[in-house]
Amino acid sequence: MSGGPLRAVLAAIDDGALTAYEIRRETGLPDETIRSALEQLQRMGRLTAEQVEVGCPPAGCGTCALSTSCGPALVGLSRVR
């Protein structure tokens, strides 16, 4: 782990970790610490979060058969540099 937990989590994301599970595998940090670090990084503006619509967008074309439902609460955290 280089630096503290925050830097370790950021490094894992930069190295391609896609989920909290993969960050844990890479850093060895407990889940709780990873969750906490992710929240802190969001607060600091180092990550931005947005809900990811998978398969059913809440808005869109009126002719679209999928325009009326919403997706699961998958959240994407994007790295901000």
Partner: protein, 645 residues
């Protein structure tokens, strides 16, 4: 904050308690939201609190007098919940101003959740960066114990450099111990501030706090050597694995298409018989009864509305099953894992990770998918992704795949539909790589983390609502834009341009529709479907892909109205034309047609959205790209297929 303000704007009270006298020590109760801070406040004071806005603010603060064991009256102030002293909300800003302002409280009780120590100790780390009296109230230790997490309060106190008292305010446990600790701290000298790094780098400062917190946790907390793997974790080990994940995803989607086509087929046949039989007969009888038999009205109703829209409606069972299965995957949480798999693929080929977000949406509908490219901060990412979205196979194309597959490959319709989705992914990848290596060679990567929701048992009611919501969208399409397209196609097929026919009484081969399609059809001859019927359907498909089916149905209903009154007759008619145009190489021509249908411009709504999002130049480039790719690949498929057969 040597005293709480006299003009504390009390608006109500839980049970109006006395306020501490002027000069009484002020004790601030702080903590992250949901750590049990207010419950502790109530437990300590018997719920006697006055609530009101702090003077000059709109922040509501509770306060009351709290008597310590030695009888000392104190003013206990319940400050708003705050995760950190770097405020993101007015409440947090207020808490910060109270703690680090010119007049700080005499003592701070930091409420800390034992089950979520890492989260709640960050605030303490900041509080401890200033000299002052601090006591930690450790809540939720019962919940922590249920997770096999044991906190040694003595060790934790040593690591944090301040007293730690275990409390369970719901049961009044630990209140007296906390009062004693506060009393002792008030009589002792303020704590020395903990050391902080001499830097302005906010990340380094925050990381230092996290390290301090983690060291305290490592020293004082006994927890399972590894975090408990939940069911979601265990499944995700396989479902999101780099190589197995995509295979599982493809297998799941294969099952969806198999189930959809297999279960829907008999229902679809029944509806086909219904529309082409009783519904058509009843309409003719009714129209004849009102004197409209044999007129253009009958032609429009029978050949247009029932032939076109009715044929589309036979796909309702198929769409319903498909939507239900997809809703099942979404509600269970699996589709979120599919997003991880897709994202990994995007990264693997060097495309920006976030590009997968709109692309996933594109498999539902291309229009909102292009709108979703706004999530991409880089303009080049937006343009590239908006150009790739039309290659994702939207649900509108599904109905055409199914019709073609059921006609030409009746024994393996599910496999054919599945293959079309694989080809769609292949298009996205190959076109994406090609564009990136030519137009956007310098585009950088952009890491993205996905916070997966846990797996859950699907809720039947929710599945029903989602399925019905989407089915309504399909029906709305059929009753809106498709009816309008059907009317336009009917009009074009009713206008004679050759022969002796009159309006609405003309062989379709002599109509304006056939003439226009005939003029374009040679373009598709190298792809094996250079007949005007297929060309006309593809042209109408520019409006919406569902219209391919309705226009085909109209074309053959006008051409052979009697024959189409039997189930499967549309498929037979289409097959005959493909046989003829391909010179007997029907299978190759059908695959070429399907791939062309997949790759060419999805619909006018997609074009309009592209125009709005990425401008005219890139939209026109996209149309040219889609048509070029579609034509080249379709021709290649047919020519190779013909050579091999």
């Amino acid at each position: 904050m040597a005293d709480t303000p006299a003009n504390f704007a009390s608006c109500h009270s839980d049970a109006a308690g006395p306020l501490a006298a002027s000069g009484a020590p002020v004790i601030a109760l702080v903590g992250s939201p949901n750590v049990g801070k207010s419950t502790l406040f109530n437990s300590l004071t018997g719920a006697h609190r006055q609530m009101g806005n702090w003077p000059g603010t709109t922040v509501e603060v509770g306060r009351t007098q709290w008597l310590l064991p030695d009888g000392t009256p104190t003013a206990l102030v319940d400050l708003p919940g705050a995760y950190s002293l770097d405020p993101l909300s007015p409440d947090e800003a207020f808490t910060r101003s109270m703690l680090v302002g010119e007049d700080p409280p005499d003592l701070v009780i930091v409420t800390v959740d034992a089950a979520r120590l890492s989260r709640s100790l960050y605030l303490l780390a900041q509080v401890r960066e200033r000299p002052g009296r601090v006591v930690v109230a450790l809540t939720m230790s019962d919940i922590a114990a249920r997770r096999d997490v044991e906190v040694d309060t003595g060790t934790l106190a040593a690591a944090l450099g301040c007293p730690v008292v275990r409390v369970l305010p719901r049961h009044g446990i630990g209140d007296a111990d906390l009062a004693h600790a506060v009393e002792q701290s008030l009589h002792a000298a303020p704590l020395v501030a903990r050391e902080t790094p001499a830097t302005e780098d906010d990340l380094e400062i925050a990381d230092h706090r996290f390290t301090w917190v983690q060291q305290a946790i490592d020293a004082a907390v006994v927890q399972p050597t590894t975090d408990k793997h939940t069911w979601s974790d265990r499944i995700d080990r396989w479902a999101t694995a780099p190589w197995l994940g995509p295979i599982i995803f493809l297998a799941v989607m294969w099952m969806v298409f198999q189930l959809t086509t297999t279960v829907a087929a008999p229902l679809q046949d029944a509806l086909d018989s219904f529309f082409s039989g009783p519904v058509s007969s009843a309409a003719i009888t009714l129209l004849t009864a009102v004197g409209l038999g044999g007129t253009w009205v009958e032609s429009f109703v029978i050949d247009g509305l029932i032939g076109g829209v009715g044929m589309l409606l036979t796909f309702v069972p198929l769409m319903a099953i498909m939507f239900a299965l997809l809703a099942l995957l979404e509600d269970s949480g699996y589709m979120a894992r599919a997003a991880v798999v897709t994202d990994r693929t995007m990264r693997f080929i060097g495309l920006p990770g976030r590009a997968f977000l709109p692309l996933i949406v594109g498999f539902g509908c291309n229009v909102p998918a292009i709108s979703a490219t706004r999530v991409l901060p880089d303009a080049r990412h937006r343009v590239l992704t908006a150009l790739l979205v039309p290659f994702t196979s939207c649900s509108a194309r599904l109905a055409v795949y199914v019709m073609m597959a059921a006609t030409f490959f009746p024994g393996s319709a599910g496999n054919v539909v599945f293959a079309m989705y694989l080809i769609s992914i292949l298009f996205v990848v190959l076109v994406g790589v090609a564009l990136k290596r030519t137009l956007w060679r310098t585009m950088g990567r952009e890491p993205l983390l996905l916070d997966l929701p846990p797996y859950q048992l699907p809720h039947l009611r929710l599945l029903g609502i989602v399925t019905w919501g989407r089915l309504k969208g399909f029906l709305r399409t059929a009753s809106g834009i498709i009816v309008a397209t059907v009317a336009a196609v009917w009009l074009l097929q009713s206008i004679p341009v050759t022969g002796d026919g009159a309006f609405a009484d003309v062989p379709v081969t002599d109509s304006a529709y056939a003439a226009a399609a005939e003029a374009v059809a040679p373009v598709f001859a190298p792809a094996g479907f250079g007949n005007w019927q297929a060309t006309g359907a593809l042209a109408v498909g520019f409006v919406a892909k569902e219209a391919v089916i309705s226009s085909w149905s109209q074309t053959y209903a006008v051409a052979e109205p009697t024959d189409l009154h039997s189930p499967g007759a549309l498929g037979d008619a289409v097959r005959a034309d493909f046989d003829a145009s391909s010179g007997g190489h029907t299978t190759a021509a059908v695959w070429a047609f399907l791939v062309f249908l997949l790759a060419y411009t999805p619909c006018v709504a997609t074009l309009a959205t592209q125009w709005r999002e990425i401008g005219r130049k890139w939209t026109l480039f996209g149309v040219a790209l889609q048509l070029s790719v579609a034509w080249v690949v379709a021709v290649a498929i047919f020519q190779i297929g013909r050579a091999l057969s």
